[in-house]
């Protein structure tokens, strides 16, 4: 037994309190030990999970994967350039690629898999719905891992917002909210693209987890499963994976990194954030 009374400050009981969950999760990730806590991985696109934590996923024993977009943009020429006759067939192919990758990464062992099926690139247009659904889904887990707010891809930044907002709503309603962690994606710093790293933030210490040979092999095979993304995935290597407790972001301000998608897009994103923030 952990405690005979309710948890400290807010009097809320949880299956595992946030501080303990954060500590246990980061320790398990750092030491490459199995983690039995209920963990949700929330990603913007199919393949983000492979990039960010493909080596660590196998050790998450109670894993829920929440896929926010279907990986297929609305613009028909994108599907055509990827060799698909329609957006729908492109989305179906990406779903299939994800299933293949998960078979490698976690041998299909998922406690739960949820697809929000928002078109790729349009997460900001559906933020209110995404946040509401995340409230419903994240109430069941102890830990949520998602993208950092770093200006790399606007869907990634929207995902970071949606998770922070959903957790904040749960907490405001006096409900169980998971502790928030982050995995790496990509951003631009001093004009250069950086992958597999966080923007430097002394207030948010990170842990660095080298891949074992087996994890690196699994990740490499999983990369290959995302066949339609082979070009993009060449940007990412099989170096250490990094994790950290998620900072509490001020989404009214631009991301810490350069907005790779441009400030005009960020201003639109910012309006979407404001519109989806609960008063």
């Amino acid at each position: 037994m952990i405690a005979a009374t309710l948890d400290s400050a807010d009097g809320i009981v949880m299956t595992t309190d946030p501080a303990t969950a954060r500590e246990r999760a980061l320790r398990a990730l750092a030491t490459r030990q199995p983690l039995d806590l209920a963990v949700a991985v929330v990603t913007a696109h199919p393949d983000d999970e492979t990039v960010g934590l493909g080596g660590a996923m196998a050790r998450l024993r109670n894993l829920t994967l929440v896929q926010l977009t279907d990986g297929a943009p609305l613009e028909p020429d994108v599907a055509a350039r990827a060799g698909f006759p329609s957006r729908q067939s492109y989305a179906a192919a990406r779903r299939g690629e994800l299933v293949d990758a998960l078979a490698v990464l976690v041998e299909g062992r998922l406690a739960r898999q949820v697809f929000y099926e928002i078109p790729d690139g349009r997460l900001a247009d559906h933020l209110a719905v995404a946040v509401e659904r995340l409230v419903e889904d994240l109430i069941h887990v102890d830990v949520v891992l998602t993208h950092p707010y770093e200006g790399g891809h606007f869907d990634h930044d929207a995902a970071a917002f949606a998770v922070q907002e959903a957790c904040a709503r749960l907490a405001r309603h006096g409900a169980h909210a998971p502790t928030r962690l982050e995995f790496t994606s990509y951003h631009r710093l001093h004009g250069l693209l950086r992958t597999g790293r966080f923007l430097d933030d002394p207030a948010a210490p990170e842990i660095v987890v080298p891949l074992s040979a087996e994890a690196a092999r699994r990740k490499e095979v999983a990369f290959a499963c995302h066949r339609s993304q082979a070009g993009n995935l060449r940007m990412f290597g099989f170096g250490p994976e990094r994790f950290r407790a998620a900072p509490t972001y001020d989404f009214a301000r631009p991301p810490g990194g350069e907005a790779m998608y441009g400030m005009e897009v960020w201003r639109g994103l910012s309006r979407a954030f404001a519109g989806a923030t609960e008063a």
Binding site: M1, I2, A3, A4, T5, L6, G11, I12, V13, M14, T15, T16, D36, A38, R61, N62, T64, G108, R109, L110, A111, R112, Q113, V114, F115, V135, E136, D137, I139, H140, D142, L170, H173, G174, A175, H176
Partner: protein, 440 residues
């Protein structure tokens, strides 16, 4: 023959017959459709016409017998079953129905004779006959009078609680920080409560069939039936019964119903539950209520009052949106929520939950691990997790918490009518908590 032909033959077509066409099989289907829509008279009209036109066919007689039995006309049902059997003595389906009709009417010797007159021709028929034979033996060995006596002993016991009393007990346990566990034992649980000598002996085939059926309902497969870990779990389940604070069991009216239809699963399941718990009346064991207490607590407003009383709430269910729906209710503090895969028989009704696995063993192990992670004193857990949910209730109470087995109410709150009793979903809405919970 067309309906017009019927008129030419001098018989005025009755209402509904025109829908049946000239085909006897279509006529039976049309009657079944009417019956399922609640138009009993319309169904009866078709079947009566069918029996008159095709007296040599068993279908009409059999279906009319079933209608008459449901209507409480035992003598009429027996007559029609006899005609059906006379039309086709080798039809096992009719034979089974006739045997159950006779057994349900308490005519066990005639039922036995009726069954003995059938000569099985396939292994499947042999198995079915053996199970029916064991049901008759069970009903002789544990007659309705015995089951009713046990049910009445529980109902009239000072330890039997109505919904209001159960609510008071739960509220007191929460207020005083005492552990509390309310579990309900229905048909599914009853299939796993039995005298080992009976389970492995004279009623073996009957019990195995019932266990396989309920395993398929729960998990979509009966592969667990002989698995040691699952059988070991049964011992843990049995231990939850005397340890519970309140146990919901069947009641005399239900016993009458199950014996009246000679239900192959209902009779042994309900009776075995009563046989198992009745000795607990002699000691300082649990209190009792009906296994429909979850419905009563909802309808009385008791559940809503308890949820809205300010205690932290835990929820175990298969409905992903339900926890957040509870959390949105003013005054409700949803402190923990655990998901379990749905009962596979109801997967179509419940809809996609995103949980690909089975409740046992994977999800079960994860839920138990999370429940064992801390103390639950002062927390009201609503547990909707079937057979395994009894074990969750036990774990919660063992850690100081208050666990209430809410069963299918969670389905109803999620807008899913998984049981016939929930057909009127409007009565079982979760609501916003604003206008619920007032004492009636």
């Amino acid at each position: 023959m067309s309906p017009g032909g019927l008129s030419e033959a001098g018989a005025a077509p009755r209402a509904g017959w025109a829908r049946a066409g000239a085909d006897p099989v279509k006529a039976v289907r049309a009657a079944e459709a009417l019956r399922d829509d609640g138009d009993i008279l319309g169904a009866a009209a078709i079947l009566t016409e069918l029996c008159r036109l095709f007296p040599h066919l068993p279908y009409g007689w059999r279906e009319r017998a079933i209608l008459r039995r449901r209507a409480g006309d035992a003598a009429g049902a027996a007559h029609d079953f006899a005609r059906a059997l006379a039309a086709n003595p080798g039809d096992l389906l009719t034979r089974v129905q006739a045997v159950r009709q006779l057994a349900g009417a308490g005519r066990l010797d005639e039922a036995q004779a009726c069954l003995a007159a059938f000569v099985p021709r396939t292994p499947q028929q042999t198995g079915r006959v053996a199970r029916l034979d064991q049901l008759l033996a069970y009903m002789r060995h544990h007659p309705e009078a015995e089951a009713s006596r046990l049910a009445m002993a529980i109902r009239t016991s000072p330890r039997h609680l109505d919904a209001a009393a159960v609510e008071v007990r739960i509220a007191a346990a929460l207020a005083e920080g005492r552990p509390f566990s309310l579990i309900r034992l229905g048909d599914g649980e009853g299939a796993w409560i039995s005298d080992p000598a009976e389970a492995d002996g004279r009623f073996r085939d009957l019990y195995r069939r019932n266990r396989k059926r309920i395993l398929r309902t729960w998990f979509g497969t009966d592969a667990l039936i002989d698995r040691r870990d699952f059988l070991a779990l049964r011992e843990r389940f049995l231990a939850t019964v005397p340890a519970a604070t309140v146990v919901g069991v069947t009641y005399p009216e239900r016993i009458r119903h199950e014996y009246g239809i000679a239900s192959p699963d209902g009779v042994p399941s309900c009776t075995n539950v009563l046989r198992h718990v009745a000795p607990l009346l002699d000691g300082a064991g649990p209190s009792f209520c009906t296994h429909d207490i979850h419905l009563d607590l909802h309808l009385s407003g008791g559940l809503h009052r308890l949820i809205g009383a300010g205690h932290p709430i835990g929820l175990i269910s298969c409905h992903p949106p339900l926890a957040a729906a509870l959390a949105r209710r003013p005054g409700t503090r949803l402190a923990a929520a655990l998901l379990v895969p749905e009962e596979k028989e109801f997967a179509g009704i419940i809809g996609a939950t995103g949980m690909p696995g089975s409740h046992y063993p994977e999800a079960f192990g994860q839920v138990i691990a999370r429940l064992r992670g801390r103390d639950w004193t002062g927390v009201l857990w609503l547990v909707a997790a079937g057979y395994l949910g009894k074990l969750y209730c036990h774990e919660i109470a063992a850690r100081g918490g208050v666990a209430v087995d809410i069963g299918s109410i969670a389905d109803a709150w999620s807008g899913k009518a998984t049981r016939p009793g929930l057909a009127d979903l409007a009565r079982y809405r979760l609501g916003d908590g604003q206008h619920q919970g007032a004492r009636r």
